[in-house]
């Protein structure tokens, strides 16, 4: 399809503004741009149809099953969008006075308090805009705390080899050296290797739990003890929080700091890649280091307070506020019962699907999983030549978004599936049927999977060519 720049014509456009009602000011010649930017020249009809066509060439949760592991692609409730669209929330300047923004401050306070309770933490900041941004923020708290204690020799962050790439990248951005520890054969942290890795240079540990193979690390208390005994702090990557809400709490497992993803666990939409929100929570001793401002309540008036030894700002204002509005609306809907039921149903859906598939596919770890499970397609690849990639592309022709491919790195030919709690049993049964049919296809007609997908707007793109000769913008001839 054409780009918007290839549509329309000179002179087309919308009538948006009235004529100027004050004397026109001219910009000095030397300060003026030499030529106008080559933006689209289109009418409103053309804009409307262009983006409808783009929407038709996109796939969201509302188009069908989206078991993208580690991304918690649950349904995004509409009432949350209504709330986030209220004029009293959208049309508020971030630098209005506290007196005229009591509603916004209440949103921040109520959401922070709820997140503290769910996670067993003492304080939260909503300033980080995404999960990775939360990791960065959490590690900064650790860095600032250690610096204040004069422990500048603690320069190493321990990260399991099953971690998301953002963990080591965040540690690097915070000036830490990354120590990778291998996972044991059970997919969990090898506590012996961890004991050998810690020392008086240990700043902390970053751990995702349930981990990236979908398992709850049974040794989690021992792990946090090892780190604390060595003088380090424990960071909980809450990417997988959807498995444990109301069941157990990171704060009770010995973690000092955590980030959660509102755009995963708390149902806010992903928007094709963002905006997200990655609030960071911590225990009381780290609260003075939180970034931005926290909301305090006194005599039923809310005010913004800069924590006493704040690391500064990690974002310009109060975080992705309208995302926080959606998350609060979600938590209010669920309440204490609904939150727990949500995690129960998420784990049930994952295990149901895992058990229905385990006779057809090799599970990387054949045991009870949490909210997601990882299939290992190595044997299929060996026997049929069809890889995890081929299998994923095959799913596209059945209208299913494939599971996360080739992650975690410790499993070869990995497909990580996270059905989430908002899927019906019928959807799961249908997906199991399709997965199994594809497995059969891999044996009987592997070529058809190599050639998949066939029914999508484009076939497999040439990614190598894209990277070798980058075309990253449109240029008119």
């Amino acid at each position: 399809m054409k780009l918007i720049f290839e549509k329309g014509n000179e002179g087309r456009g919308l009538q948006l503004l009235p004529d100027l009602d004050v004397p026109e000011v001219e910009i000095a010649e030397g300060m003026k741009r030499s030529k106008k930017p080559a933006l689209a020249k289109v009418s409103e009809t053309e804009i409307s149809r262009h983006y409808t066509e783009l929407a038709n060439r996109s796939y969201g949760v509302n188009n069908g099953f989206y078991p993208l592991g580690s991304c918690t692609m649950k349904y995004n409730p509409k009432v949350n969008d209504l709330a986030a669209g209220l004029k009293g929330l959208t049309d508020i300047h971030p630098l209005q006075s506290e007196e005229t923004t009591q509603g916004s401050l209440a949103v921040i306070k109520e959401l922070s308090d709820a997140l503290c309770e769910i996670n067993g933490m003492d304080a939260f900041t909503l300033q980080p805009a995404a999960g990775a941004h939360g990791e960065f923020t959490g590690l900064l708290l650790i860095k600032a705390y250690l610096h204040e204690k004069g422990e500048t020799g603690r320069t190493k962050i321990i990260v399991p080899d099953s971690a998301h790439g953002t963990n080591p990248a965040s540690a690097s951005m915070c000036g830490f050296e990354v120590i990778n520890v291998p996972s044991g054969s059970d997919g969990c942290v090898d506590t012996q290797a961890l004991r050998e890795a810690v020392g008086d240079d240990t700043a902390g540990l970053m751990l995702t739990n349930p981990n990236t193979v979908g398992l709850f690390d049974k040794n989690i208390k021992e792990i946090t003890d090892i780190i604390h005994d060595a003088g380090g702090l424990c960071y909980y990557d809450g990417a997988n929080l959807n498995a444990i809400m109301g069941i157990c709490r990171p704060g009770d497992m010995g973690f000092d700091v955590i980030h959660v993803n509102l755009h995963k666990t708390f149902s806010t939409p992903h928007g094709g890649g963002g905006p997200g929100s990655g609030p960071v929570g911590c225990k009381e001793f780290l609260a003075p280091f939180l970034p931005g401002h926290v909301v305090e309540e006194k005599d039923s008036m809310y005010s913004l307070v800069r924590p006493s030894r704040s690391v500064g700002d990690v974002k310009v204002f109060h975080g992705n506020f309208l995302v926080a509005v959606r998350a609060l609306s979600y938590i209010l809907t669920l309440g204490k019962d609904g939150i727990k039921k949500t995690s129960q149903a998420a784990v049930l859906n994952a295990n149901y699907m895992r058990v229905m598939l385990k006779d057809t596919f090799d599970m990387a770890y054949d045991e009870t999983c949490m909210h997601e499970f990882v299939m290992d397609l190595s044997r299929m690849k060996e026997e049929t030549g069809c890889s995890a990639l081929d299998f994923a592309k095959g799913l596209l022709d059945y209208g299913i978004h494939p599971p996360t491919m080739y992650f975690p790195l410790i499993v070869h030919e990995a497909l990580m599936a996270e059905p989430t709690e908002t899927e019906t049993r019928e959807t799961l049964d249908e997906a199991v049927r399709i997965f199994s049919e594809l497995a059969k296809k891999a044996k009987e007609n592997p070529e058809s999977l190599h050639a998949a997908p066939q029914g999508t707007p484009i076939g497999r793109p040439d990614e190598v060519a894209a990277a070798r000769n980058p075309i990253v913008r449109f240029m008119a001839d």
Partner: protein, 441 residues
């Protein structure tokens, strides 16, 4: 009460049985007993949709929407064309994840490719990424982009939005990057001081300025670029995208990287977010850009296709060696900016910029007549600073009660004002009348 779980309790029981579990306790038995949270969460009972909406409306009503906004300082009150909201409400865009599966994500990928093109056109740069979180993180990431083995420090003008320089400073603390500020002269970056600082700090990786700057004034970007480059450092310029409808681009002025906040391009004030940080640079720096970049290629049939590209820069491949940790960005806001720019076009953007400038000039004159004398006598865009004949915070508070968000008090007796195309002459005149009443009190 409310959950979004479709399966009934009965159905769940059957599923538990089919999967070989007695009950939920059995299902969760892999969690060590001692860690199970035995209490109920100390949260309210769940509520019905009607009750939730009512409660959220109650919170919204506790805010006061300002009918008349004359405040900017990093968040700008612009007209949002009707088509923008309509397009960005499409569920296929809202409910999709990052476009990992290109075959079913061509729509989102193309929208980002178009956005990247828009940003290159606005800034006069060669390459743009798919966005970062906001102006502050874009600035901080740009500073990180300039570091190499021999250069690490950054010099930041004092005429930068304080929250943006604050974020740069935080990232510098994180990365152990030396951070220094450049003093001002008459409200703009002092080029002599800049030259001095660069001579004293040979390891400086970059200089960061904002144009128009925090006080609304135009910087001499070309001269600053020249000085910066003479000392082997790179120039990062923070810009307001609306101003680029008319103002000389960072590319034309010799900057190496242009960043800014795309909020003025169709995003509501939203108490500060979500906004969108845009980043664009010269092609030599392309592989240092953080975050997603969409590229054009072909599919197996030779059809035009878009993919996430140059991924060898990113965290999921390079892990601790990646230049940035960014994963999620602000894609839906990039879409918003793209639709906004398609709706206004180059002529509309120029008109908007001219309206902003003209209304600000009119506002400045009107204010001067009632005793708010301008602090600087230099060319400015749509923001400017005045003295205040009474306590600035007091004036601001009094006016807020009357539905007017005045200029931002930047100290006891100075206000930073802003006007946009949304402020009519009548509205400005009306504000002046009310301001006079408040002063007379």
């Amino acid at each position: 009460m409310g959950t979004y779980i479709p399966n009934t309790e009965k159905e769940q029981e059957k599923m538990l049985e089919a999967a070989g579990y007695k009950d939920f306790e059995d299902l969760f038995s892999c969690i060590p007993e001692g860690l199970i949270y035995k209490k109920e969460l100390n949260l309210p009972e769940g509520k019905s949709e009607m009750q939730v909406l009512c409660e959220m409306e109650g919170l919204a009503e506790k805010n006061k929407v300002m009918r008349h906004v004359f405040r900017g300082a990093g968040a700008y009150n612009h007209y949002i064309p009707a088509i923008v909201k309509s397009v960005v409400s499409k569920e296929e865009f809202i409910t999709a994840y990052t476009p990992y599966q290109a075959e079913i994500s061509q729509g989102i990928l193309q929208s980002i490719f178009e956005y990247q093109t828009d940003i290159c056109e606005l800034t006069g740069m060669d390459v743009a990424n798919a966005s970062v979180y906001d102006a502050g993180t874009a600035a901080a990431e740009a500073v990180n982009m300039c570091r190499d083995r021999k250069h690490s420090g950054c010099l930041v003008s004092e005429a930068v939005l304080p929250q943006v320089s604050g974020v740069i400073k935080t990232y510098c603390f994180a990365g152990d990057t030396p951070y220094q500020t450049i003093p001002l002269k008459d409200g703009v970056t002092d080029t002599e001081e800049l030259e001095q600082l660069l001579s004293e700090n040979s390891g400086t990786a970059c200089v960061y300025i904002q144009n128009p700057n925090y006080f609304g004034l135009f910087e001499d970007v070309e001269k600053i670029a020249q000085i910066t480059h003479e000392h082997g450092a790179k120039l990062v310029v923070g810009v307001n995208p609306i101003s680029l409808g008319i103002v000389k681009t960072p590319g034309e002025s010799g900057a190496d990287i242009a960043v800014g906040d795309g909020q003025p391009l169709g995003l509501p004030l939203g108490f500060g977010g979500p906004y969108i940080g845009f980043m664009a640079c010269r092609k030599e720096l392309m592989r240092n850009l953080p975050g997603r970049i969409v590229g054009q290629t072909e599919d197996s049939e030779g059809q035009k296709a878009f993919v996430l590209t140059l991924q060898a820069r990113e965290q999921h491949i390079r892990r601790e060696k990646a230049g940035s940790n960014i994963c999620s960005n602000e894609a839906l806001c990039a879409l918003t900016a793209g639709v906004y720019l398609a709706a206004v076009g180059a002529d509309g953007l120029e008109k908007t910029a001219l309206h902003c400038m003209s209304k600000a000039a009119y506002l400045k004159n009107a204010l001067e007549k009632i005793g708010f004398s301008p602090v600087f006598d230099r060319p400015f865009f749509h923001e400017f600073v005045t003295e205040c004949p009474a306590d600035a915070s007091l004036i601001s508070a009094e006016m807020e009660q009357r539905g007017y968000l005045t200029g931002l008090p930047i100290d006891n007796n100075r206000l930073l004002w802003c006007a946009t195309e949304k402020n009519t002459k009548d509205e400005i005149d009306g504000m002046i009348t009310v301001l006079k009443e408040v002063l007379a009190k």
